[in-house]
C-alpha cells in the first residue's frame, strides 16, 4: 500500500539523524531567544518553537510518504515550482527591497525554500532514469538547464543565497550519478565563468558586499559592518564563551541579523569555541547520517534524492558558518535548522523527513 506504514519502516527510522536535527533546532530556539529577548519582539523564540513543532509534523509526513510516489510526480512538482516562483516575482509584496515572500493565511512563506525540495526530487528523478555508468556534459545539459531556470527565477527576487544552493544540489547528484570527473571540473569552471559574467549585472549593494568582504575597513559603518561585528562577536567569545545571554555584541545589538542569518555568531559569542565545535559536530553528524542513508538506499532514486538534499543542506551550513567567521562575503543565507524563519525551518525539517523516508524504505519493495 502506497501510503501505509511498513512495520520495518519504524525499525529503520534513523533516530540519530532525527534526534540530532531536532537538537539543532532547539539550540536554534535558544539562540533566537538570546538574540531577541531584550528587543522589540521578545516572543520570537516562541514562534520559532511553534515552527519547529509544525516542521516536525512536516517531517513526519514527509517521512511517511513513499519518496518513489513523490518522484512519480517530479515533473508536476517542477512545474508547480516554476509557477510559484513566477507568481512571487509578479505579485509578491516588496519587503526590504526584495520579492521573496507570499502571505498565506497570515503566515509569510518563502516559496524558494520549498522549491529546493522540489528541485531535489526532480533532479533525483531525472538522474535515476539514466541507465549508463558514466555521464558526459551532454547528458546533464537538459536537467542542468531545468535547474538553472529555477535558480535564475530565485536569483531574480533577488535571493542569490537560495539560488546558489541549487548548484551544490545539482552537482552532488550529477557527481553520484557518474558524471565524469572531467565533466565535474568542466562544470565547475563553467559555473565560475558564469559567476564572473554575472558581475556586470549584480546590483550595487551586491558589489559593495564583495568589495567590503575583501577589505571591510573600506566601509566599517556600512557593508563591512556586518562582517566586522560578526568577527568581533565570534572572537570575543573565546574558548568557552561569554555565557548564555551575556554576549555584549548580541545583547547590545551590535550584531546585525542576529536571530536570522547571524544566529551562529550569537552561539559563537555566548558558547565560545567549545559550543562552536559541539554544534558543528552536530551538523557534521547530520550530514554524515544523510550521506550514509544515501549509501544504504535501496535504489538510485533514493540515493540521489538524499544526496541532493545533503548537498544543498551542507552547502548552506558551510557557507553560513564561513560567512559568520568572515571567510566568505555576506549573503542572505539562513543557517538550516537554527536561523529564525518559518520557511527555512520547515524546509530543513521536511528535507530531513525525506531522508528518513528513503532510509525507512531501504528494504521495502
Amino acid at each position: 500500500m502506497a501510503g501505509g506504514i511498513d512495520r520495518r519502516f519504524v525499525y529503520n527510522v534513523d533516530w540519530v539523524l532525527l534526534g540530532t536535527a531536532l537538537a539543532l533546532a532547539l539550540v536554534g530556539v535558544a539562540m533566537v531567544y538570546s538574540a531577541t529577548h531584550s528587543g522589540r519582539s521578545p516572543d520570537l523564540y516562541l514562534k520559532q518553537l511553534a515552527l519547529v513543532g509544525v516542521g516536525t509534523l512536516g517531517l513526519v509526513a514527509a517521512a511517511t510518504v513513499d519518496y518513489r510516489r513523490l518522484a512519480d510526480r517530479a515533473v508536476l512538482l517542477y512545474a508547480l515550482s516554476v509557477v510559484a516562483l513566477l507568481y512571487v516575482l509578479r505579485f509578491a509584496p516588496v519587503i526590504a527591497g526584495t520579492r521573496r515572500w507570499v502571505v498565506i493565511g497570515g503566515f509569510q512563506l518563502q516559496p524558494s525554500e520549498l522549491v529546493k525540495l522540489a528541485a531535489a526530487i526532480f533532479v533525483a528523478k531525472v538522474f535515476a532514469e539514466f541507465r549508463q555508468e558514466t555521464l558526459g556534459l551532454r547528458d546533464v545539459f537538459v536537467p542542468g538547464a531545468a535547474v538553472a531556470l529555477l535558480a535564475l527565477l530565485i536569483a531574480r527576487e533577488p535571493d542569490l543565497g537560495t539560488a546558489a544552493c541549487l548548484v551544490p544540489l545539482f552537482l552532488s547528484v550529477a557527481f553520484l550519478a557518474g558524471l565524469r570527473m572531467r565533466a565535474v571540473l568542466g562544470l565547475a569552471a563553467v559555473m565560475l565563468l558564469l559567476a564572473a559574467l554575472t558581475w556586470p549585472f549584480l546590483k550595487d549593494y551586491q558589489k559593495t558586499r564583495i568589495y567590503t568582504f575583501l577589505d571591510p575597513s573600506l566601509d566599517p559603518r556600512g557593508a563591512g559592518y556586518q562582517k566586522i561585528q560578526s568577527q568581533i562577536a565570534v572572537g570575543s567569545g573565546g574558548l568557552v564563551g561569554r555565557g548564555f545571554l551575556e554576549g555584549s555584541q548580541a545583547q547590545l545589538g551590535y550584531l546585525p541579523a542576529r536571530h536570522t542569518d547571524f544566529v551562529f555568531s550569537v552561539l559563537a559569542e555566548e558558547a565560545g569555541f567549545v559550543g562552536v565545535v559541539v554544534v558543528l559536530g552536530l551538523y557534521l553528524l547530520v550530514l554524515w547520517r544523510m550521506l550514509e542513508t544515501a549509501r544504504l538506499a535501496r535504489d538510485r532514486l533514493g540515493a540521489f534524492l538524499v544526496a541532493g538534499l545533503a548537498g544543498s543542506f551542507g552547502f548552506q551550513v558551510v557557507y553560513n558558518v564561513a560567512m559568520v567567521a568572515g571567510l566568505v562575503p555576506v549573503k542572505g543565507l539562513p543557517l538550516p535548522l537554527m536561523s529564525y524563519g518559518g520557511s527555512s525551518v520547515l524546509s530543513s525539517l521536511i528535507g530531513v523527513g525525506l531522508v528518513l523516508s528513503v532510509r525507512g524504505r531501504r528494504f521495502a519493495n
Partner: protein, 608 residues
C-alpha cells in the same frame, strides 16, 4: 520481484562527498580556533571598545583665595556638549543636525572633530546654554551619540583685577602635550590647563585628578548601565598672599593708566597686591578663546597679556640712586657727610652730564642728594665707585637676575658691566657710561618687582626676600625661605632710609605724603627718548618718560614695600607718587590727598 540496482559507483563517490564534508567542517573549526582562541584577546578588546564609553568626570580646579580667605578664582558648573564620532552611524547627518540644534556653524563643528583622538569624546560646544541643553534633550533619541556633560568652568569674579598674577586657563597646546609636566594626566587636545600666572605655575597642584565613568551603551549609543566609576579628586585650594581689598585699591589707583605696581611684605616677600595694566579678562579664556579675540589681545601694541611687574624691563632712573648710595657707602667711597657742589651739570670725559635742576642744587650731602634726586652728586659717586663695584652691589641687591617669584616667565632685567659689554656688544666699557648708569640710565634695566624688592631690602634691614604669592596649599602653610642678609651695614641702610624719608617729607616725592604715617620713597624717571628731543616735541604721550616711585612705610617698622611704574606718565614725582600714595593710604586706612608745604621745605622742581 526485487531488482537490485548496481550502486557501486554511487557508493564510491559518496565516500568522496563524506570526506569533503569532514574537510570543510575541519576548515571551519580551524578558522574558529584562530578567531576564538588565538585572536580572542584582540576581539575581546574590540567588543569592549564597542560597548563601553569612558566619560571623564573633570576634577574642579582648586580655588584661589586671598590672604583672608576671600575667593579670587573659583569654578562654576557649566554644560559641555560632547560627541563620540566613532559611535555615529552617519556622522554627516549628526553634524548637520547638531549644528542646527546648537545654532553653530557646521564648519566650526567639523574643525573640532578633525582634531580628535580615536574613541575620545569630542567637546563640540563648551558652556552651552540651558536652551541648548533643552533642545538636545528633546532630540535625545535622534542624536544618541551626543551627550551633555556638566563640567566645572573656571570663573574669575575679579575679572581683570590681578589678572596677571592669578593667570588664566586655556586649551593645552600641542607642544605642552609633549612635555613631561603634562604627560600621564589624561590630558588630551581641548583639555584646559593653566596658561599664565599662578594658574600655570601651580597647574599641577590645582588640577586635582579627573575621575571617570565607564558606561555600557547599546548599539544605538544609549546608556544601559554603569560599569565602573572613579570619583574626581578636587584640586586643593591655594591661599595667596594677595590682599583683595588692597588689590582693589591698586586697581582703582591705576584706572586709566598703563603701568605696573607691586606691593610686598618687606619682611617675608609676600606679594600683597600686584597689577599690570592694561589687563585682560581671564574669563574670556575659560572656554577656549576664539582666534580673532586672541589675535587682538596678542597683537595689541599695549601688550595687555604681558605681566609688566615681572616681564616689563625699564630703566630704573633715579630710583637706582638707592643702589648707588648703598654701594658708595659700603665701599667707603663717600661718607654720609661727603658733599659735592651741583652747578646744574658735570663736565667730565669730554661730555656734559646735566642735572634735572638747570640752576643746580648747590652743595649737597648724601641725604639731600637722595631727597632732591641730584644727578651731579651721583655722577661724582659713580666716577669714584667705578662700574665694577657698582655692578657688584646692584647684583647683590637683586638686579640683573630674576627674583624667583612663583610666577612663570619672569625676566631678569640687565645690570651692565664691562664683561657683559665685551661679551655681548664686543666693545670696551667707557668710563662715561658709568656716569649714566649711576643715575639709572644707559643700559641698566629692571622690573618693577626687582625695584620693589630693593625697597623691601632697605626696609627690612638688608635682607633680600624672594617674592612669592602662595601662602598655603589646602590650608597647609607653604614654608617660604628665610630672607638672607646681603651684608650691608645698618648704618648705611639707616642713611639711605633717612634719605628716602626726606624724599617724601621734603623732596621730589612729596605727593606720596600721608598725614599720620611716615612714608619713605624714591622717585625715578625712565627716559624713553633723549631729553633734548622731548623738549623739542612736547605733548607726545609715547615720548614721555616712565615714572617710578619706590616706597616703604611706616619709616620705622615698615609693613609694606611698594614699586609703582606709570608708563609715559612723566616724572616719578608727578606720575607715580600720587598713585603710590593712594595705595598706601588705603593700606593704612587713611585718605585725603597731600598738599604741598605742609611739612616745611618742599621742592616742587622737576626731578628725574
Amino acid at each position: 520481484m526485487r531488482i537490485y540496482e548496481d550502486l557501486r559507483v554511487v557508493q564510491a563517490r559518496l565516500a568522496v562527498l563524506q570526506a569533503l564534508a569532514v574537510a570543510l567542517v575541519a576548515l571551519l573549526v580551524i578558522q574558529f580556533w584562530n578567531l576564538q582562541v588565538i585572536r580572542a584577546r584582540h576581539f575581546r578588546d574590540l567588543a569592549e571598545n564597542n560597548r563601553s564609553r569612558l566619560v571623564i568626570l573633570a576634577a574642579p580646579r582648586g580655588a584661589l583665595l586671598d590672604r583672608e580667605g576671600q575667593v579670587l578664582v573659583d569654578n562654576r558648573p557649566s554644560f559641555n556638549v560632547v560627541l563620540v564620532p566613532e559611535h555615529a552611524v552617519d556622522l554627516d547627518r549628526v553634524v548637520t543636525r547638531l549644528a542646527a540644534t546648537l545654532g553653530m556653524g557646521e564648519a566650526t563643528l567639523r574643525e573640532r572633530l578633525a582634531r580628535r583622538q580615536p574613541y575620545r569624546p569630542v567637546v563640540v560646544k563648551t558652556d552651552a546654554s540651558l536652551a541648548d541643553v533643552a533642545a538636545l534633550e528633546a532630540r535625545r533619541l535622534e542624536l544618541p551619540e551626543v551627550s551633555v556633560e556638566v563640567v566645572p568652568l573656571r570663573s574669575y569674579p575679579l575679572a581683570s583685577a590681578a589678572a596677571h598674577a592669578l593667570g588664566r586657563v586655556g586649551e593645552i597646546t600641542e607642544r605642552q602635550l609633549e612635555l613631561a609636566e603634562f604627560r600621564g594626566k589624561g590630558l588630551a587636545p581641548g583639555s584646559l590647563v593653566g596658561q599664565a600666572g599662578i594658574e600655570s605655575r601651580y597647574n599641577r597642584d590645582l588640577m586635582g585628578r579627573d575621575g571617570f565613568r565607564r558606561v555600557i551603551v547599546n548599539s544605538r549609543g544609549l546608556e544601559v548601565t554603569e560599569a565602573d566609576r572613579q570619583a574626581p579628586e578636587d584640586g586643593p585650594s591655594l591661599t595667596l598672599s594677595i590682599d583683595a581689598s588692597l588689590q582693589a585699591a591698586v586697581e582703582k589707583a591705576f584706572e586709566g593708566r598703563a603701568g605696573a605696581a607691586v606691593a610686598l611684605d618687606p619682611e617675608t616677600g609676600e606679594v600683597l597686591a600686584m597689577t599690570s595694566t592694561p589687563a585682560y579678562d581671564p574669563n574670556k579664556f575659560t572656554t577656549g578663546i576664539d582666534a580673532s579675540s586672541w589675535a587682538s589681545l596678542a597683537q595689541d601694541p599695549e601688550t595687555p597679556l604681558m605681566n609688566r611687574v615681572i616681564q616689563g624691563t625699564y630703566a630704573p632712573g633715579s630710583a637706582f640712586k638707592l643702589v648707588a648710595a648703598t654701594a658708595a657707602l659700603e665701599e667707603g667711597v663717600i661718607t654720609p657727610s661727603t658733599t659735592f657742589y651741583c652747578p646744574g651739570y658735570l663736565a667730565v670725559y669730554n661730555t656734559v652730564f646735566r642735572c634735572a635742576k638747570p640752576g643746580g642744587h648747590g652743595v649737597m650731602d648724601l641725604r639731600h642728594a637722595i631727597a632732591r634726586s641730584c644727578n651731579v652728586y651721583f655722577y661724582q659717586v659713580g666716577i669714584r665707585l667705578e662700574i665694577g663695584r657698582l655692578a657688584k652691589w646692584a647684583k647683590l641687591m637683586g638686579l640683573g637676575a630674576p627674583t624667583g617669584i612663583d610666577l612663570p616667565s619672569e625676566v631678569g632685567g640687565l645690570m651692565p658691566s664691562p664683561e657683559w659689554k665685551m661679551r655681548i656688544l664686543k666693545t670696551p666699557w667707557y668710563a662715561g657710561e658709568t656716569v649714566s648708569v649711576a643715575i639709572g640710565q644707559g643700559q641698566v634695566s629692571a622690573t618693577p618687582l626687582q625695584m620693589a624688592r630693593i625697597a623691601a631690602l632697605i626696609a627690612n634691614g638688608g635682607r633680600l626676600v624672594r617674592p612669592h604669592l602662595v601662602r598655603a596649599t589646602a590650608g597647609r602653610p607653604v614654608g617660604g625661605d628665610t630672607p638672607v642678609s646681603i651684608g650691608i651695614r645698618p648704618e648705611t641702610l639707616a642713611v639711605v632710609a633717612d634719605g628716602m624719608r626726606m624724599v617724601v617729607a621734603e623732596g621730589t616725592g612729596w605727593r606720596a605724603r600721608l598725614s599720620s604715617v611716615e612714608v619713605c620713597g624714591k622717585t625715578g624717571s625712565a627716559q624713553v627718548v633723549a631729553k633734548s628731543r622731548l623738549e623739542r616735541t612736547p605733548g607726545i604721550h609715547e615720548l614721555l618718560p616712565h615714572g617710578w616711585f619706590l616706597a616703604f612705610a611706616p619709616a620705622d617698622h615698615p609693613r609694606i614695600a611698594l614699586a609703582v611704574l606709570v608708563e609715559h606718565g612723566g616724572s616719578g614725582g608727578e606720575a607715580a607718587a600720587p598713585v603710590a600714595r593712594q595705595i598706601l593710604a588705603h593700606f593704612f586706612g587713611l585718605d585725603r590727598p597731600a598738599s604741598p608745604g605742609a611739612a616745611g621745605v618742599v621742592d616742587t622742581e622737576a626731578e628725574d
